[in-house]
């Protein structure tokens, strides 16, 4: 491995020496495997990580990183006592000690923890504030998609990441799957000719008609902190998964999946650092129950190079889930499941020559982050790209909410001639929450 630029400053033992301070009173107990025997990675070479948001997604991410020999997971933060305690239990079980530290407030976590990198797996309304704070704390970041709840917050995350020179990887892991990579390389190298149209099928929304009466907040859950910058709301039993169906916290399946399939659609066309110029969308919103994200959605987006994309719930596109690029010589369809489909199967056997476009290659998504933390190179899914993937969906959301076609300047990132729609590029935060520096 080449000499890492930052690793010294972040050395696990080095932090023990300088960073322990009064807050950490117990000595670190290093299990024998930590001593570099039996092929284990010496502690001085490990990436030390923590986790903010240890719900189902965060826990999955934690186990993924904790399974790597060169990662040490040391701390978790969650507003739900049960969640943070089960994260600690998992870390302690893994390392055979009781050292994992837990927090209920991310501000305390960031003030205390002198770690290398942090996993952020939070409801969307928190993404902007906590990602900016984590970048300002000089932590490298694994951030769950979508990058942010609003385009304004996404821009602020990019500013903070660039200013602090931290490494960012988004959980858009499809880019590290060989068949997605292959599909994008075939498309970008013209194997289906000139592409004029792309269809992106995302999950269908599922309307929930059950009533959700207001109820007592469960023991151990800091509900006000869970809401954070989102508007006050009484607890209605919607917290650990179903928050995704309420606009104050998420844009539904559309914004959840933009970081997967819209991301791939952009990648195959080299459009992943720009955006559409015109967005016309229509959503169908549930009429019963308490959820208010669209259950059916259809977004037509035009790009400056003339390409048109249609993002919709899978039932509304002929190939269903996944991405289908249409060129003047054929089409290619890709979805999860490792198989590609094409108008002519021969297209899929085409070789990509030495002088053709080679897309960033990663064979293991989380390892790519660890490698980049050491090399200080850009990851396969940097925040600048994640921002464009979610922006396409968020502009669709704005078009649905206003009922109007939106014109967008992808360079200045401004909505053209529609001040009212422009308001929706940002959501006001509940007092006292602010994004650092704003």
């Amino acid at each position: 491995m080449s000499e890492p630029k930052k690793i010294d400053r972040r050395n696990f033992f080095g932090k023990m020496a300088v960073g322990a301070g009064a807050a950490i009173t117990l000595p670190y107990i290093i299990p024998s495997s930590a001593l570099g025997k039996d092929g284990a990675v010496a502690p001085s070479n490990r990436v030390v990580m923590g986790l903010i948001g240890s719900g189902s997604m965060g826990t999955g991410d934690m186990h993924e990183f904790m399974g790597k020999p060169d990662v040490q997971m040391v701390a978790a933060c969650d507003v739900d006592k049960q969640h943070r305690e089960s994260a600690k239990a998992a870390m302690d079980a893994k390392y055979g000690n009781s050292d994992a530290r837990i927090y209920s407030d991310y501000r305390e976590f960031l003030a205390q923890e002198k770690i290398d990198a942090v996993i952020l797996a939070l409801p969307d309304q928190w993404h902007g504030i906590i990602a900016v704070a984590a970048a300002n704390a000089k932590l490298d970041i694994y951030g769950q998609k979508p990058l942010a709840r609003t385009i304004w917050e996404g821009k602020k995350i990019i500013e903070a990441v660039e200013k602090n020179n931290v490494i960012w990887q988004t959980g858009s892991w499809q880019r590290s799957e060989a068949h997605f990579h292959r599909a994008c390389e075939l498309v970008i190298n013209g194997r289906i000719g000139k592409v004029s149209f792309v269809e992106v099928g995302l999950p269908d929304g599922s309307p929930t008609y059950s009533a959700h009466p207001v109820q007592p907040v469960p023991e151990g859950l800091d509900w006000d902190m869970w809401l954070g910058p989102a508007p006050s709301a009484p607890y209605r039993g919607v917290c650990h998964w179903d928050w995704r169906w309420i606009l104050d916290y998420s844009g539904g399946q559309l914004t959840d999946w933009a970081g997967h399939h819209i991301d791939i659609a952009h990648w195959g066309l080299g459009l992943d650092r720009t955006g559409p110029i015109e967005i016309d969308a229509r959503g169908v919103y549930p009429r019963d129950g308490i959820f208010d994200v669209p259950v059916e959605y259809s977004i037509h987006a035009k790009y400056a190079n003339g390409i048109e994309m249609h993002y919709a719930n899978a039932r509304q596109v002929p190939h269903g889930m996944g991405v289908c690029w249409y060129g003047d010589k054929g089409w290619i369809h890709v979805d999860r499941g490792e198989r590609l489909f094409a108008s002519d199967p021969k297209i899929l056997e085409e070789k990509i020559g030495d002088n053709e476009i080679k897309l960033y290659r990663s064979l293991n998504h989380t390892q790519n982050l660890i490698d980049c933390i050491r090399s200080r190179e850009e990851t396969i899914t940097p925040c600048q790209v994640a921002h464009r993937s979610i922006s396409a969906a968020l502009l669709g959301e704005i078009s649905m909410l206003t009922g109007r076609k939106i014109k967008w300047n992808p360079d200045t990132q401004e909505i053209i001639d529609d001040p009212m729609a422009s308001r929706l590029l940002r959501r006001p935060f509940r007092t006292p929450w602010k994004l650092e520096g704003n």
Partner: protein, 412 residues
């Protein structure tokens, strides 16, 4: 909810201060270009419920002045039941009872053959198994001991309409449930612009209909789910039939209930396809637009008054909203604003109504919801009212949310 709306309208009318007056097209019934006749009076269904609703639906299209021909009760002398069909552009059949006099039958046949329009509604296709020409007019029928001797089943199989002559009963339905209607003739004037699939509200799914099926086009089918007691077949739901020069629209949906709720008839899909089918049968064309709240693949949509609600009615429905309640009425409001925001005069009227609501007696939760809508659509005109609401503990947060969005520039 219906009561609430009616009493609100009554109050408003008495006070003489109503604005945004219901502009329902029925007010222009006098100017309706076409005449329709509903034939009713006997049925194994609640015709006393269904006939007035059918009349309202047709009048609300703005296209029809509707009269009703009510037969004598079942078992009574029918010899004087002689509607003059030729006075009308459209005859709507909501009748399933005693045989008509021979003269009336002949008149009906020649009315249709001569180019008359007909709508066959639900159990009207149960009627008159023995009347050969009637069965040609309805295309498919059910019950009344119908079987293979009455004609084939007509089903959608493997991408096409199939006429199946296999032996078996004619007419059945499983348990009532919401079901998905799938368009099979998207370019037909009645279907043009409708979603390819839409969820019809709870209804009987007529199955195993059989009949001559001559000159019959299946416009839409539905999967008759065996788990609901259905046939495991794609059954015809909307059809057209040609008879001589006449045009027939046949809708098997819209079962009327005996009690106060009418999910099948309130379904916007039932109402709109009936209005479109009626216009097509009468004229050969469809000029009506598809409403924005037509049901979708997975989303039912109902009009409790068999027409879209007016803005003031929607606002009246919000008054008691509490957190945790269904968003039904909220979504009505959102959809209305979103689809009627012209950025000009029309919106200004809506905003005036919203601001008046905010200063009225609705629940804090309903006001907070309206404040969120104003954060999206509101203008500077809203700011003074928002200022006032910022002083109220229960609304201050969302009032601030709205005024912050309206006033600050966020593009950078």
């Amino acid at each position: 909810m219906k009561k609430l709306i009616f009493s609100f309208l009554m109050l408003a009318l008495m006070a003489g201060g109503i604005f945004l007056l219901p502009s329902c097209k029925q007010n222009q019934a006098g100017k309706a270009p076409y005449k329709a006749l509903i034939v009713t009076g006997q049925n194994n269904h609640e015709w006393k419920a269904s006939t007035p609703i059918l009349k309202q639906i047709l009048e609300n299209s703005g296209l029809f002045a509707v009269e009703v021909a009510q037969s004598p009760e079942g078992g009574k002398d029918m010899s004087n039941f002689k509607p003059v069909f030729t006075k009308y552009n459209l005859v709507v059949l909501d009748y399933n009872g005693d045989a008509w006099p021979a003269e009336t039958q002949k008149n009906f046949e020649s009315y249709v053959a001569g180019g008359g329009g007909v709508v066959v509604y639900h159990a009207a296709d149960n009627a008159f198994r023995e009347w050969k020409e009637y069965n040609k007019i309805i295309g498919l029928g059910g019950w009344g001991d119908r079987n293979e001797s009455d004609g084939p089943y007509v089903r959608w199989r493997d991408g096409q309409i199939v006429r199946d002559t296999i032996a078996g009963r004619g007419g059945s339905h499983g348990r009532q449930h919401p079901f998905r209607v799938t368009t099979r003739e998207p370019e037909h004037p009645i279907m043009k612009g409708l979603p390819a699939n839409w969820l019809h509200s709870m209804d009987e799914l007529y199955s195993e209909l059989r009949g001559p099926a001559e000159n019959l086009t299946v416009l839409a089918t539905a999967w008759s789910d065996s788990a609901k007691g259905g046939t495991h077949q794609h059954e015809p739901i909307l059809m057209t039939v040609g008879y001589g020069k006449g045009r027939i629209f046949h809708t098997v949906i819209g079962h009327a209930m005996g009690d106060s709720t009418q999910p099948a008839m309130e379904c916007v899909g039932f109402i709109v396809t009936l209005q479109r089918g009626a216009e097509w049968a009468a004229t050969g064309n469809v000029t009506q637009a598809v409403p924005y709240d037509f049901p979708q693949f997975n989303t039912e949509s109902k009009w409790s008054l068999f027409r879209p609600l007016e803005f003031e009615e929607i606002l009246a429905n919000l008054k008691n909203y509490q957190p945790g309640d269904t968003r039904y009425n909220l979504q009505d409001l959102t959809n209305y604003i979103r689809n009627n925001n012209d950025g000009g005069e029309k919106y200004a009227k809506l905003e005036t109504a919203l601001l008046r609501y905010l200063q009225g007696t609705g629940t804090a939760a309903s006001k907070n919801f309206i404040l969120k809508e104003l954060s999206i659509h509101g203008t500077d005109k809203a700011l003074p009212v928002l200022k006032k609401l910022e002083k109220d503990e229960e609304t201050k947060e969302m009032a601030r949310f709205a005024s912050e969005r309206i006033t600050l520039q966020y593009s950078n």
